[in-house]
Structures are given as C-alpha cells and as structure tokens.
C-alpha cells in the first residue's frame, strides 16, 4: 500500500503516455521483426523488412518527447557518465543498481542504437541502401543477434512499467504486475502493427501468424489484467483506475485497454468475425490492428493518469 502523503512528480503525463506508447510500439515491432527474421519464411521476412522502417523513427520521437518533458537535455549525460560533482559515486559510468531509471537508460540507449539495423535492412530490402548490403542483411537475420535484440526490445517494453512500479505513488506501486502488463501491451502493439503491414502487402501466411500471435498475447494480457485488477481491488485502490472519470481514466481503461486491445482480438480471432471500415479498402486484420493500437495507447493513458486521479488532481 502506498501512503497518501506522497507528492505528484508533475510530469507532463499526456506527453509521457505518448512517449511510452511510441517507445513500447517500437519495442513490440522490433520483437515481431526478430521473430519474423529468425523463424519466419520469406513472406514473414518481407513484412519484417517493411516494419523495420518504424522502430528507429519511433524511438527518435520518444527521445524528443522525453527531452521536451524534462527540458534539460544538456544534463542528460549525467544519466550515463558520472558527473564530476557526484563524488560519492565511483567510476566513470553512472550506475545506481537500485534505480530502474538508471538501468532503463542503458537499455533504451542500446535498444535505440540497435533500431538502426532493421531500418537499414528496410532500406536494403527496398533497394535504397547503397552500401554494406551484405553486412546489414547478416546483422538483421543473425539468430543470436536477433535474440539479443528481441530481449532488449522486451526489456524496453517493460521498462516504463517497472519504472512506475518502483515509486510510492498510488495504483502504480500497488502491484508487481505493471512491468509485465507494459511488455505484454508492447508486444500487442507490435503484432497489431504487423497485421496492418501484412494486410498492405497481402502477406496471407504472415497474417495467419499475426492472428495467432494476437490471440495468444491478448490471452496473456487478459490474465494479467484480471490479476492486476484483483490485486488493486484487494488493496482497495482500484477506484482511481476503474471508476474515475478524471482524465477519462476509466473509459480509457475499460473501452480501450480491456475492450479494444484485449477482448476484441480474442473475439475476432476465435470467432472469425470480420471487421470493416466503410469506404476504406482495408481488411479485417488491418482494422483489428488499428483498433488494437488505439487500445494499447488507451492502456498507457489510463495507467499514466490513474495515479494523478488517485492523488485527486
């Protein structure tokens, strides 16, 4: 249980919700790319190659948003290199093992750098890379390298959740499941984006893998959400997430996170129901992908604002 006396950090929460969404989406997409490039067939790798255009720009957007929110880019190096003024900290590199933000900085830094690989591979695949084509292809399809990339992608996906978990703020710190939920919703976002690209490329077999993946990940998310809510209810702190209208937290959570991101893929994939958009030439899978992405953003939004709602802001 948290204490009612903790102060609000006064982050730009809407901006952080967007930042966490794009960084999580980049992680989820990279996760899909790693799977496609190492275990998929030619069609899967083609989808993976086109998806490779997205993680690097998304991470760039996340970095810009984070910089705007914190407003002190000149001091960001203090996260990596020990400031000469911080005389109590040994060594040239800053590492506080008790701080998720410190771990996360390194993970995001390495992951952000690695997103260049699928980006270059996408350029290579579309014939726009004038140099080092062989090297890029090797890097982008090496099973060991991709396993490491997938692990870093999942670590990036879970990072924000663990970060919020290691505070004393209500809702965020009331359960251990925050990191697990964040990484699961990142994977959901990645597969949803893959569904849209698979649809555009008419990659039928890949679409089948995406559907199966979406169903499996939604199932995991459903179990985690049930445990999460049960945990909060048991502690008596579920209200700010599941009932409050402040910042539209409850509607975002129930309609977006639970409805669109979790239940919809389960229902659509298991029943074979078809989703259509009027006057738009997209398939059922693409529509599902877009709705799931909206749901994933709604999840980030509702969790991000639930602590504020709990503090009465």
């Amino acid at each position: 249980m948290t204490t009612p006396y903790v102060l609000e950090p006064h982050w730009a929460n809407w901006m952080l919700a967007v930042e966490m969404f794009v960084a999580g989406l980049a992680a989820g997409i990279f996760f899909f790319i790693a799977l496609a490039n190492t275990t998929g067939r030619k069609e899967d790798r083609e989808v993976g190659a086109i998806l490779g255009f997205f993680p690097a720009p998304l991470m760039l957007i996340a970095a810009i948003l984070l910089t705007v929110d914190l407003g002190q880019p000149g001091r960001f190096l203090n996260l990596i290199f020990t400031s000469p003024a911080a005389t109590e900290r040994p060594g040239p590199f800053m590492l506080n093992p008790n701080s998720p933000m410190n771990w996360g900085t390194y993970v995001i830094l390495v992951f952000g750098a690695l997103t260049v690989i699928p980006f270059l591979d996408a350029l290579r695949h579309t014939g726009r890379l004038p140099f080092a084509r062989g090297l890029v292809e090797t890097l982008a399809h090496d099973p060991v390298g991709m396993f490491v990339c997938a692990a870093l992608a999942l670590a990036t996906g879970s990072y924000s959740g663990v970060l919020l978990n290691v505070t004393n703020l209500p809702v965020w710190s009331d359960t251990y499941l925050q990191g697990a939920l964040y990484v699961t919703f990142s994977a959901l976002g990645g597969f949803a984006a893959a569904g849209i690209v698979a649809d555009r490329l008419r990659a039928h077999e890949t679409a089948g893998a995406v559907r199966t993946g979406l169903m499996g990940i939604s199932l995991i998310a459903a179990v985690l959400l049930a445990l999460y809510i049960g945990n909060l209810v048991a502690l008596g702190t579920a209200g700010p997430l599941v009932t409050t209208m402040v910042y539209l937290v409850a509607p975002s959570f129930w309609i977006g996170a639970v409805g669109l991101a979790v239940l919809l893929p389960l229902v659509v994939v298991t029943t074979g129901a078809r989703l259509r958009l009027a006057r738009v030439d997209v398939s059922s899978l693409a529509v599902l992908g877009m709705l799931v992405l909206i749901g994933v953003f709604a999840f980030r939004w509702s969790i991000m604002h639930s602590a504020l709602a709990a503090l009465g802001h």
Binding site: T3, L7, P9, T82, N96, A203, V210, G216
Partner: protein, 289 residues
C-alpha cells in the same frame, strides 16, 4: 563522523513559525511560483497553517492540527514543525539515477544541484511527500539540514531560531537519549500519549485527548530510522505522517522478475504463432484479406 539530526518535540511547539522564517532566510528561499499562488498552494489563508505543505521553496512547514470533541467543548491544537526526515534508508536517494542525491558526511541527504537533471523520479519515491520539483530551476529541492552550517559546526538555522527548544539539533545518538528521557518525563506527568516517531526506543502509551482518545500508541521506526524524528501525541496520520512508509525499491525485484517471466512467455507465444500460421491461415479462410 557522527550522524547529525534533529529531535522535534511537538509538545513544546507554539506554532510561532520562527523555524519557517529562519529556513527561508538562511537558504534564501523565494515565494512559491505564480501557479502556486494562483492555485492557493503558496498561502492557504484558511488557517494559522499558512503554506499547507512542504515544497521546493518551503523546506520547513509548521503544521496546525485543530482537534475538537463532538460537542466542541474540548479543543486542542497539535503543532509540528515538519521537514525532510533524512531517512537512514532514503527512497529519494535510492532511486536517483544520476547520483544527485547523496548521503553527506553527517548522515543527512543532500542534493548536488548541478548534477540533478530534474527527472522528478525522487518526488514519487519519497513516502513522506517531502522532496519537490522546482519549476524555476528545473531541479528538485528539499531541506538539506543546513549542510553549509553543519560544516562550520553551527547546526541548523531552524533549531537555532526555535524559542521553545521544540527543535533540537545534535548527534542522533544524543538526541535519542534526550527523546527517551522526555517521553519518560511526560509519561510520569500523566501525558501517556507521548511516543517517538522515527526510532523505536521502547515507549508505548495511550492517547488521552482528542478523537483518538483511548487508542494505543508506541514508538515507530520507519525506513530504518529517521535522523530527524518526532515526539508525537496522537496517531501519525493526525500529523500527516504515514503509519507504514515504505521504500519504493520493495517493488523492484518482484516487478522486474514478473516482467521477465512475462517476456519469456511472450517469446514462446510469438514463436508458437509463427509455427502455427499454416493452420491459422487455413482456418481463417486463407490470408489477410
């Protein structure tokens, strides 16, 4: 170096706010920013409690707690001069990703202002709601136990200005002995509600006045002990102090562990999805369209 701290005897506090003024003056703390003034957070004007809470520019805050009996015939004021507790295990310091928050040679928790990046992670980590982001500087601020004065052996400005010795600065070991003696003295006078919030010195009693009359109280030692600690006369919640403050790090390993397990399950699920795609494609009628 011996650990320095303060003992706050709330029974002696008259609410004069000399400590607040001394703190503002010595540390050259400005009025709160325009937003705080606009939102009535800078000056409440609804009580003798003028600022309402600790903040980046109010490192010390005198709380006024008014208690009435149901018929309003019996009234008492509890007053408490609050500040950073300089915890033995400080949540703010533990989560700081840049080393800006550090433990001084006196055992207090100080901030390297030029190292702080203004990430505000420490704000949500403090269970007491002490440290706050300063929008003017883009950094966080809180009581630093007058580090500059301690280095010259002067002690804190607030304790120096306290006219009733409600605030006493000194070696924590000496202060603990003083606190234990004071509680015994109060108990001997029939004031059995006195107990220590910050260290477990073995005292326990019963509240004799106010809405919680008859409830048992006993010494508390939260987050490994507080180097600025209090003698209280009522439940901690009455003073706006948490009854069970915790370090945010309690969640770190379990949270990361559960995330790791989930990531592994997701990896297996993703692999299974690719292996089952033919079956799935056949079941869905063949493809993306």
């Amino acid at each position: 170096m011996t650990t320095k701290g303060m003992f706050v005897d709330t029974t002696l506090c008259t609410g004069c706010k000399a400590c607040q003024v001394a703190c503002k003056q010595w540390n050259e703390l400005p009025m709160e920013d325009e937003a705080a003034v606009r939102e009535h957070r800078a000056f409440t004007a609804n009580s003798y409690d003028n600022t309402g809470h600790l903040s980046a520019t109010n490192w010390r805050h005198v709380k006024f707690i008014e208690q009435f009996s149901p018929d309003r015939a019996d009234v008492r004021w509890l007053m408490m001069s609050d500040s950073c507790k300089h915890c033995e295990q400080a949540g703010c310091l533990e989560v700081c990703p840049t080393g800006a928050l550090y433990r001084t040679q006196f055992g207090s928790v100080d901030i390297h202002q030029d190292v702080c990046i203004g990430c505000r992670y420490c704000v949500g980590a403090c269970p007491f709601g002490v440290i706050e982001y300063n929008g003017r500087t883009g950094r966080v601020n809180k009581c630093i136990l007058c580090q500059d004065r301690m280095e010259t052996g002067e002690g804190t400005a607030c304790a120096k200005s306290c006219p009733t010795a409600s605030l006493t600065y000194g070696n924590v070991s000496d202060l603990k002995a003083m606190a234990a003696a004071r509680v015994k003295q109060l108990h001997a006078q029939g004031k059995t509600d006195a107990y220590i919030y910050g260290w477990d010195l073995g005292n326990q009693g019963v509240i004799t006045q106010g809405p919680n009359k008859g409830q048992a109280v006993k010494d508390m030692q939260p987050v490994g002990g507080l180097n600025v600690f209090y003698l209280l006369l009522d439940q901690p919640g009455v003073y706006g102090l948490p009854t069970a403050p915790q370090l945010p790090q309690r969640n770190m390993n379990p949270s990361a562990g559960v995330a790791l397990i989930s990531a592994a399950v997701l990896g297996v699920t993703g692999l299974a999805a690719f292996r089952r795609r033919r079956m799935e494609a056949a079941q869905s009628g063949g493809g993306a369209a």
